[in-house]
């Protein structure tokens, strides 16, 4: 901001020029109150204020250098160049109180006593001098070694395994994927983006920019500011993250560290244990932390307080090939049914016909006569292998495209009512059968399967009996090569107000791993939690009609989620 009459900062909704001046002066003094600090920062989101601020800093620096250096002497030349300035200050001086300088003489200090010490001549023998020299040389060598010798001999200790949108400050250091990184005396500044580094002992850290960190050695990182999430396998036990006032020592775990610029920091332990050591403000703290716990260090007081552990605070895994930025979230199979990638993009209104595998933008319902005894693959849904209509009357049913079969389904009507969909609504048809008045129109409307808002707002797969859907786990693994599938979880719900029976089934590679029966009296919801091994290829979800027909069997797999664990490279697997 220049001091113009047409000053753009004169808008009354923004601080006046004078007010901003005041904020800058206080900022440069270091006396800005927190309230003013917030206002000052808010001003600086506007480039005009930034320009003004920079110019003021420059002027202040000029004045500091000129006046503090003592080269400023009043000039006696009567220069009338800037009359307005004189007028302005004339006005100011007219109402300003006089400045009184203290001219009190400083009292002279009185010499009380002069003490003379007798000179003592000490004898020093030669061996003492030699010992002293050797000791001094040793100390000098140690100091020199500590300061001059590079940390860990400047050896390569880690590899940059991946990055997404990373912008590094130091362009001299190659930070391409696969770059070998050395323990160094200087910090690395990741201005933005994400980077993943794997140490040679297989500890892995994911850094979220902006962050400044330093690789101190083969099992140690210093975080100056920013966020780091570390995954430490057993062979890297003892891996450490150091911050300004603290140290977090791993005891075989996964944990995240968030270091703020103001010195405050947080530690969140997601698995295993860590020891959190802090000496901030001279207060020594040594805390054992377990999975699910988190602590916050207040840098001003040195106090450590307990906070809620946030599982989604840190980016835990990245994969530039699939653009995966994983914060621990599960893959949502309802989104997959809607055509999404499991994290977003699914259209919940779409549906899959279990008798053909056809995908429709709006789910079709009121199938009453269609039957199918074939396994039908689904196009354009890469994570879905196929769909089918289960019926035990004819023996084993094929449930995967690889040929897995299951012979445990009961006899069903062989019919189904609805497409498989992520949209838990049924079409209610009025005036179709009961109303015989010819003038009354047939009206269809979508009715939620439950009046419970909690049920309706969570993601689900609506599998009206009799239908089944199989997910291709191998395809999911291929899409996320840096993650391992660990578990499938869901909640079986039968919110129908009609007392109807239905069965829920979960199968892995044709083997039943979960089954429950729903009827109005016995089941409203049941939790499914199924571990998935690396060799499992297909996950199948099925509902059958409880042998009382498929009508009103509104079966939901609520929150159907596949959970991951980050894949850490082992020594054998290499990078």
């Amino acid at each position: 901001m220049k001091y113009d009459e047409n000053n753009p900062l004169s808008d009354i909704s923004r601080p006046s020029e004078g007010e901003f001046d005041l904020l800058v002066q206080k900022y440069l003094d270091g006396t800005l109150e927190p309230k003013d600090a917030a206002r000052f920062k808010a001003c600086l989101s506007d480039p005009q204020y930034v320009a003004c601020f920079v110019e003021k800093c420059k002027q202040d620096q000029l004045m500091y250098e000129l006046i503090a250096a003592g080269s400023c002497q009043p000039d006696d030349t009567s220069d009338s160049f800037d009359l307005s300035m004189w007028q302005e200050f004339g006005k100011y001086e007219a109402c300003a109180p006089a400045v009184v300088r203290s001219d009190e003489p400083v009292a002279e200090r009185e010499l009380i006593q002069k003490v003379e010490h007798p000179k003592i001549r000490r004898k020093i023998n030669r061996s003492s001098i030699i010992s002293l020299c050797i000791a001094a040389a040793a100390v000098l060598f140690m100091i020199t070694f500590v300061h001059v010798a590079p940390i860990s001999s400047n050896i390569q200790v880690a590899t940059l395994t991946d990055s997404i949108g990373a912008r590094w400050a130091d362009r001299d250091v190659s930070m391409q994927k696969g770059a070998r990184l050395r323990a160094r005396n200087t910090s690395l500044l990741l201005r933005e983006g994400l980077a993943q580094i794997q140490f040679d002992n297989n500890a892995q850290i994911t850094i979220e920019g902006p962050a400044e960190f330093q690789i101190l050695g083969e099992d140690m990182v210093r975080l100056n500011y920013g966020q780091i999430y570390s995954i430490v396998p057993p062979e890297a036990y003892g891996f450490q993250i150091c911050t300004r006032d603290s140290k977090i020592i791993d005891l075989g775990t996964e944990f995240g560290v968030k270091q703020d610029l103001d010195g405050d920091m947080e530690v969140h332990v997601l698995r295993g244990k860590v020891v959190f050591v802090s000496k901030a403000v001279g207060k020594n703290n040594n805390i054992d932390m377990i999975a699910g716990s988190a602590r916050r260090l207040n840098a001003i007081t040195g106090d450590i307080g307990e906070i809620a552990c946030r599982e989604d605070l840190f980016v835990r895994q990245i994969d530039s090939a699939s653009d995966l930025i994983w914060r621990g979230q599960a893959l949502n199979l309802a989104d997959v049914v809607g055509g999404g990638n499991g994290f977003s993009g699914g259209i919940i209104e779409s549906g899959i016909d279990p008798s053909s595998g056809a995908v429709y933008l709006k789910p079709r319902q009121d199938y009453t006569t269609v039957q199918s005894d074939t396994y039908n693959t689904v196009q354009n849904r890469p994570f879905i292998d196929g769909v089918f209509v289960p019926d035990g009357r004819y023996g084993a049913n094929q449930i995967t495209s690889a040929g897995h079969t299951f012979s445990g389904f009961p006899s069903t009507s062989g019919k189904f009512y609805s497409d498989i969909t992520a949209n838990p609504y049924v079409i209610e048809i009025q005036g179709k059968e009961a109303d015989s008045t010819p003038k009354k129109k047939v009206v269809s409307k979508l009715t939620p399967v439950s009046q419970n808002a909690e049920i309706m707002k969570q993601p689900c797969i609506f599998i009206h009996t009799n239908a089944g859907i199989t997910f291709d786990l191998q395809q999911i693994r291929q899409a996320h090569p840096s993650l391992d599938i660990t578990t499938f979880t869901a909640r079986c719900e039968s919110p129908s107000v009609w007392a109807r029976k239905a069965e829920f089934w979960v199968l892995l590679d044709g083997e039943c791993v979960f089954q429950c029966t729903a009827d109005d009296a016995r089941l409203k919801k049941q939790v499914v939690q199924v571990p998935i091994r690396p060799d499992h290829g297909y996950l199948t979800l099925v509902t059958t009609d409880g042998q009382d027909g498929q009508d009103y069997d509104w079966c939901l797999f609520s929150r159907p989620e596949i959970w991951f664990a980050p894949r850490v490279h082992t020594a054998e697997a290499g990078l």
Binding site: K2, Y3, G18, D21, Q25, K26, Y27, L28, D29, G30, T31, L32, A37, F40, K41, L44, S45, P47, V50, F53, V54, E55, C57, K58, Q59, D60, Q61, L62, M63, Y64, E65, L66, I67, A68, S71, C72, P74, D75, D76, D79, F81, D82, S84, M85, E88, F89, Y92, E93, A96, P97, V99, A169, L189, E212, N224, Y225, R244, D262, G263, V281
Partner: protein
């Protein structure tokens, strides 16, 4: 091709006010800014062989000023304002621009303009900058209200700014 140490010193000193002001904009304290600037000079001399040309050196210097300033903030507990990356980017890009305050004659012009101020105002500014007094301390010494002291400093700054600009403009025209 690397730069000679003389070239490095000459270039950094030529941009000293801009660089130091930039550092101050981050750390606010003028003594810290001086220390950081000196440290950056030292680092530049130690890294002399890696600079291809003066543009490279200048880019490097801005970057190191920024990182060293941020590092300095880590060692301080009560810094009232810490800028985020976006604001820092804007401050840096604005600081890199040259304005009339970078004119080589600016010291003599500033001195001239200072001499035009009334003696009490000159006294106030001298106290502030020579003894590095905060507005509150200055108010105490001058037996005035803190706010009115800050207002007086701001007015003096504004008047000096106008004065310097007019003189630089006049010099350009002549």
């Amino acid at each position: 091709m690397s730069l000679e140490q003389d070239q490095i010193i000459e270039l950094i000193l030529r941009n000293r006010i801009r660089l130091t002001a930039f550092i101050r904009s981050i750390v606010s304290d003028c003594h810290s800014a001086e220390d950081i600037f000196q440290h950056v000079c030292l680092l530049a001399l130690q890294s002399s062989e890696k600079f291809n040309d003066t543009t490279h050196l200048l880019k490097w210097t801005w970057m190191v000023c920024r990182t060293e300033s941020l590092k300095n903030l880590h060692t301080r507990k009560n810094h009232p304002v810490i800028f985020d990356e976006h604001i820092l980017e804007m401050i840096q890009s604005e600081s890199e621009k040259t304005t009339f305050l970078d004119d080589p004659e600016i010291y003599s012009i500033l001195q001239k303009c200072l001499s035009l101020l009334s003696m009490p105002v000159q006294f106030m500014l001298k106290k502030r900058y020579q003894e590095n007094l905060t507005g509150a301390r200055l108010a105490e010494i001058l037996n005035r209200d803190v706010n009115s002291t800050y207002v007086a400093i701001s007015r003096a700054h504004r008047a000096l700014y106008q004065c310097m600009r007019k003189r630089i403009k006049a010099a350009e025209i002549s």
